[in-house]
Each structure stands twice: as C-alpha cells, then as structure tokens.
Amino acid sequence: MDFNHTEERRMLADSLRRSLERGADWAALAELGVLGALFTEDEGGFGGQGFDIAVIFEELGRAGSDAPVLEAGLAGGLIADAGRADLVERIIGGDLKVALAHAEPGMRYDLGPVSASVHDGHLSGRKSFATNAEGADLLVVSAVAQGKTALFLVDPKAQGVTLHTTPALMGGTISEITFDRAPAEPLGDAGTLEARVAAATLAVCADALGAMETAKAMTLDYLRTRKQFGVPIGKFQALQHRMADVAIEIEMARSALINLAGHLSAPAPTRDRHVSAAKNLIGRVARLVAEEAIQMHGGIAMTEEYALSDVARRLVAVDHRFGDEDWHLARFMKLSA
C-alpha cells in the first residue's frame, strides 16, 4: 500500500501548478504534457490512468482553469477508442481541440436513449450541455444510425450546425447544439462511452477537490486577517469548529477520490460503484465547502469581483455534472444490491 504519487506524477502536478499560476495557455499545457498524460501509451500518450487524471484535474480545479482539458480526455478518449491515432496525436500536441456532444434535453443525467440520428452521412438532432464546444475544432457526436447508437465526427463550423453558447456555472462555456443534416463522419460505436464518462466523472471529482482546497485556503486566510468586534474572526470558536469539520470533510473527499482513481480500470460494476460513491460524497462535500466558505466570508464572498465567487460556483456545479448526489446514490444502491 502506498498513498504517495509517483515521482513523475508529482513533478507533472508541480509544474502544472506553477504554470497555471503564471497563466498557462493551451500550448503551454500541451507542452507540459498535460494532454499527453490523459492518454495511455497504447493510445500515443504516457498516462491515462486514474491517478494521472486525478493529479491533473486537482491542479486545474485548484487554479480555477477554464481550459478544455476534460473535453480533450473525454471526446479525445472516444476518438482514441476508435483507433484514430492521427487525431489523438494532434490532440496531444495541442493542435486539435475536441468536445463531446452527447446529452440531449430530457435525458437529465442518464446516458441514453439518444434521439439524434444519422441518415446518408448527415446528422440531425439537438444536443445539450456540451461543455467547451464553442471554440472546439471537432465535435464527437452520438446519434442513432441503423438502429444503434454510434459516434460521429462533426465539424462545428459545417453547414447545419448551430451553437447557442452561454457561460457555464463552473466556468468555461456550455452549448446547446442543433444539427440540421450536418455532414457527419462515422467514428465508431458507443461501446466505450460509459468508461470514458467514468473517467470524466473522476476528472470532475478531482477538479472539485482542487477547488475545495482553494476555497479552504481563501477562507482560512480571510479568517486570519479579517477583524470584527476587534479580533480576527478566525478567533471565534464557533467558526473554528465549523472550519475543522470542513477540513475533515475535504479529507473524506480526497479519500473518496483516491478510491475512485484506484478503481478506474476495474471491471465496470466495481468501477461504477466507486464512481457513484465518490461522486455522491464529493457532491455533498462540494456544496458544504462552497456554502461554508461564503458564509464565513460574509458579504464579500457574494460579490462577483472577489475570487471566491468563481470557486463557489465551480463547487456548486459539481453536483450538476455527470449525475448529482441522488442520481449516484440510487446507482450505488443498485450496484450494491
């Protein structure tokens, strides 16, 4: 048993943290190897394991990064599963930004059924909640063809593709996409979608942990410096004890994340049991941390200008991505029965 990250992962995490502090752009992330670390050696990368994803996304979450790294792993992973090494190489190199358009209105957090369809090489349908699709060079889109759900590549700038993009609660963007007979290139079947979504859920959990650490650090800093009634508010025992509980819950979240990362390659029922356990627990803790951080800060945390607001929204959004607390609890119960 060993709860230390490998030297390589620690180094990647450290340099990623420093780069993000300096405002790393997409090219810098690719240069650092962040994108390569999302893929296994077989796929042309040098990572792709649960703990690779964990260390990278914890740093992205800590820094509050909006870079579309999750999409590179999720859509890129599906591209890799289809054997398109040519595209994966360009993703790892930072030359090709990809995003997934799978969810549809009414699916809520389920992975199906899909209504979009492909006929004669053209895709029609409406997709929701596509994160960071705006600015992507290539979309991976699920659709029904010959009665089965399959994956397709669609150029977002092609005829028949319309994006309505808004800011996303967690940062970055989120798009509703309408496909009206848009040209679609077959990519492969959707057989690995669940596994890739499991990895993306791990990414969200790790991102949340990083954001929690930032929220905690900001709150502690504020408690130490902000004075009220003549003393730093961190001297008030009621806040101290609540902050101690917050710190404990963050350790619980970190532990759940480790469990998930260590079982990402396990057979699907075991993997998904850990996915749901971690997502449920981390969803709960993320909300606690966001709400306590705001409450302990007081008014200043309510302002857009103060950096905590971004962090808090990112934490609140955790529960809305890839299934909320209750959705995962129900799945955990089913998988444990």
């Binding site: 009414g106 857009e304 609140v316």
Partner: protein
C-alpha cells in the same frame, strides 16, 4: 389555542386576494415567478397600485394615514402577495425610514417626506453598511462634520440595495468619536442628487446588479436633514432593526417556492418519469414541507405574540436563522430539481444575446440559489443572531 383566523382576518385575506387578482399585472407576476429582474417602471407601477389601495401604509399609525394593521394582518398580506408572485415592497422608505420618521422625525420632516414615500416621488435606499464593518455595524467610519448650516459627509457605504433607482438615501454617519463605538453616530437624510455622491454597481455572485457602493466626497447636507438628535442615531437605527420583524422568517416566499418546486417536479422528467416520483427527491421535499409546516406556526406564534403586545425580541433571531436556512434549502432543492439545466449560467448583466436554453422554470435556478446565500449574511449574520440568542434567551 385556536389555529383558525378570525372572520375579520379571513375577510381581509379575501380582500387582498381580490386586489391582487384585479391589480397585479400578469406580466409582472410572471417576472417575479421566474426570478427575472424587475425594471424601475415595474416597481413604480406596483408601488402606486399599493399606495392607491392604502396597502402601502397599511401598517402605519392612523395619525399618519395608516390602518395600523395587526401583525397577523401583515402576515396575511405578505403571504398572499408571495403566493400571487407580487413584487416585494421595496422596504427602505415605507417600512424602514417611515417608522423612524414617525417616531423621531420633526413635524416638518414627517409632513414633507411621508407623502413623498407613498407617492413614489422619493425612492429611498439605505446607507448603513460599510466596507470592513459587516455585522459589526457600530464600527462605521463615514464622517459628517458640521460646517455652519451643513454637514460635510465623507466616506463610503456599501450593499446599498437598488441604490441605482434611488433619489434619496438615509445614512448612519459618525459625528462624534468619543465613548463607545455606538455613541457619536447620527441619522442623516441625503439627497442622492447632491454633488459628491457616486453610485457604483456591485455585481453579485449570481451575475446580477442588485446592490451598490455609494461614495461620499465632501457632500453638503443641510442640518435640517438630521433626524432626531446629533449622536443619537444608534438608538434610531436599533429601533428600526427591531421594529419590523414580523416578515423576518420569509415564510410567504418560502411557501411560494415550495409550491413552485412541486409544480416543477411534476414537469421535470427523470428516467422517463416525473421527478416527483423519485423516492430520494420526494423524501427531500416531504422533509422540507414538514419543517415548513412547523416554521409557519412558529412564525405565527411570534406574530400573534407581537399583536398581544409581547415584543418579539430574540425570537426574531430564531426566526431569522431558521427562515434563512429554509429559504436557502428550497432554493437548493430547486437547483437540484432542474438537474443539468442549472449549468447554463446567464445573467441580465451579461453582454450578448444570451438566453437560457432550458425550460422556463430552470432559467434562474442557479442564480436564485446563489443570490439567496446573502440572507444568512445580511441584517446581522446567522452567527450574530446565535450570539443574540445565547445572551437573550439562553442566558449563557
């Protein structure tokens, strides 16, 4: 013990309902129901409708043209307004400044300002909080120095709600520096048109513009704008804080939120079935409703007690804590209920042709959840309220 309303109270409820049905424009109610920001025109329209009906001054003493509503009447009025999705009454003039003027203002101030509050000619905002003061209100720093017939005001106020629409502001300012921090504070009425006042928007965590900073640079305020006596403003401020607390639990709004959430949970689908049929969600909703039934009665007990002449006192602190937590919980449940539709995050302050792509009921779920984190912070944070309970009720 009698949990029933009197015949008079029931008649009053019917009267309010009829008024709301006749006079509340559906498009304004729809805005309120969907948590869309109201324009100044919306507020003004509703203000005038209420004034015409005599409801705006309902709680005022008869000698100032009011009807001396009982606490139970106020409660009924608030409950019906919330259920009908009427805009909230902007409280700063009608419910905050007016009682202070009625109790401590000069005859001239009363005669001049009270009618203008009702007519909507004056839109008042509140200049209490300052950056760095928070719940420790008495540590305020904005200074007013007497020079002849004027005070010269310098300093900064913050969290000034709807200050962007106001033409008047009532302020707590420091006129003396001796003694305890509570001493040396005065209560000043200031015209927002006076040179040296600058209003700067604060965008909140929900992306909206609701509150402001107000900066004062050598602002000349006539001495006749002083309310009561110099250096005794703290007394008036405290009076104001304890005067109008029957609505503090926000039961009306929380109940309206619960009803809206139930409707929503019949529309939103999960695994092909209405969300309301999900046992985990249904259990959350039921636990909440059970608590709300209790809180409504807790609130009425206090309200009825206020009519019986008992000062609500520290019980208000209990209601504020529980009420704010429950309001936040219903917002949290609504956010959960809309599922992934909570992710598109749009505010009316954002640029571009942004609309929320989901069903109407989902458009503001995140914004409202985020915005209402404020209610456990403002007006004395829940931590401050627990301190009050500790001393006044628990005797610790």
């Amino acid at each position: 013990m009698d949990l029933n309303y009197t015949a008079e109270e029931m008649a009053f409820r019917e009267e309010v309902r009829a008024f709301l049905k006749a006079k509340l424009p559906p498009e304004i109610a729809a805005k309120v129901a969907s948590a869309t920001q109201l324009s100044k025109a919306d507020y003004d329209l509703w203000h005038l409708a209420l004034a015409e009906q005599g409801y705006l001054s309902g709680p005022w003493p008869k000698k100032f043209g009011g009807q001396e509503w009982s606490a139970v009447q106020k409660h009924i009025f608030e409950e019906e307004c919330a259920l009908a999705h009427a805009p909230r009454i902007v409280p700063f003039g009608v419910a905050m400044l007016a009682p202070v003027l009625q109790a401590f203002g000069s005859k001239e101030q009363q005669d001049y300002y009270l009618p203008r509050i009702l007519s909507g000619e004056d839109w008042w905002c509140q200049g209490y909080s300052e950056p760095g003061a928070g719940s420790d209100l008495a540590s305020l720093k904005t200074r007013a120095v007497r020079e002849g017939d004027h005070y010269i005001v310098n300093g900064q106020k913050t969290w000034t709600t709807l200050g962007q629409y106001a033409n008047k502001i009532f302020c707590l300012v420091r006129t003396g520096t001796e003694g305890k921090p509570q001493e040396g504070i005065s209560f000043l009425l200031i015209d927002m048109e006076t040179p040296g006042i600058e209003v700067r928007p604060i965008i909140l965590i929900d992306g909206e513009h609701e509150v402001n900073e107000v900066w004062f640079t050598d602002v000349k305020v006539p001495v006749e704008n002083l309310v009561g006596k110099e250096n005794e403003g703290w007394t008036y401020a405290k009076y104001l804080l304890t005067h109008e607390r029957t609505g503090i639990a926000g039961v009306g709004g929380t109940n309206a939120g619960l009803q809206a959430l139930k409707r929503l949970a019949h529309s939103e689908m999960q695994h092909g079935r209405p969300l309301i049929e999900d046992p985990l969600f249904a259990a959350r909703l039921a636990r909440f409703e059970i608590e709300l039934m209790a809180m409504a009665t807790f609130n009425l007990r206090t309200v009825a007690g206020a009519d019986a002449g008992k000062a609500p006192g520290a019980e208000s602190s209990m209601l504020k804590i529980k009420g704010s937590i429950m309001r936040q919980q219903i917002n949290d449940l609504a956010r959960r209920a809309v599922g992934p539709w909570a992710m598109p995050f749009v505010s009316e302050q954002m640029e571009g042709n942004l609309y929320h792509p989901g069903p109407d009921y989902s458009a503001k779920a995140s914004n409202v959840y985020l915005n209402n984190r404020k209610i456990s912070i403002y007006g004395g944070s829940n931590e401050v309220q627990r301190g009050i309970i500790t001393k006044a009720i628990l005797g610790l």
